[in-house]
Subunit: 137 residues, 2 copies
DNA sequence: ATTTTTCACTTGCAATATGCAAGTTTATAG
DNA sequence: CTATAAACTTGCATATTGCAAGTGAAAAAT
């Protein structure tokens, strides 16, 4: 997925989804917010995969422009911002679950992180509900 | 997703999944094979989005190396090859369904293609079964 | 009062990836 | 022989990525 596709979208829902999410980083950022509980720019910068700061900023902007995440001031510490999923972003919960299931099933990494995979397998409903939270705006 | 990530994978199942599928084209190719029924290189070349030939070749190689698709000779017409999903590729059926549902729900294209979205909504089981086919090797 | 630290980015630049057009290969059909 | 078809490959200009360093604004430390 590209962040700003030059070509027109085809109208296919998958093409649309990929125009928002289809790159190497967007879904990892969403994972960090949705599953790991990352909230600040600094949290996101030091995720497992080591995204570089310019790419992180660019992707956050793109995801915000596309209504998947939103940025707010931290009420406790005014100088930090908090990133969070919008309802549209929370609606990605089932997609995240499927990604985890497929990735976990075929993952051939030397030292796979099996925790999330196990948790989705044992209680998928719970996993999704945790991300979906209350259905507010 | 990149085709050949230089950086080591983190072990996270999502990171693994994205190392295979996380780019602008791979899932569109898989969609064309799984949903549209494209089988040959030429079929795939003239999909809705207009992938260029070098990128198509590169992605097919990557997907094949990662066990998602396989290439065979066409028994009827020996000089054409047929691309098809492996069991690992067919296991993407639920992920494709979720992509369609999410993409279809939020798609803001001028002229959205709503057919697949409608079909997944009305009969998700049937949609997935059509891709999963018989559970063979 | 000055220096340091923190947070959230931006900027510069080299390396890599993408996209377009044209060319290649192999083999049969006319 | 010449043309056609299928599946790619190659060249090259442009776009995107990634690394390292820098910026700005305000609070905390000295």
């Amino acid at each position: 997925m590209s962040t700003k596709p030059k070509r027109a979208l085809s109208g296919c829902p998958i093409d649309y989804a990929l125009s928002v999410l289809g790159d190497r980083w967007s879904l990892l950022i969403i994972r960090d917010i949705a599953i790991k509980g990352s909230k600040t720019y600094a949290d996101l910068l030091d995720g497992w995969e080591g995204i570089s700061t310019n790419i992180l900023a660019q992707r956050l902007r793109h995801l915000e422009e596309n209504g998947v995440i939103r940025k707010r001031k931290n009420p406790a510490n005014w100088r930090s911002s908090l990133y969070e999923l919008t309802p549209k972003g929370r609606d990605l919960a089932p997609l995240l679950a499927e990604l985890v299931l497929w990735g976990g099933k075929f993952n051939d990494a030397r030292d796979p992180k099996t925790e999330t995979y196990a948790s989705v397998r044992s209680d998928r409903q719970g996993f999704e509900r945790k991300i979906l939270g209350e259905e507010s705006a």
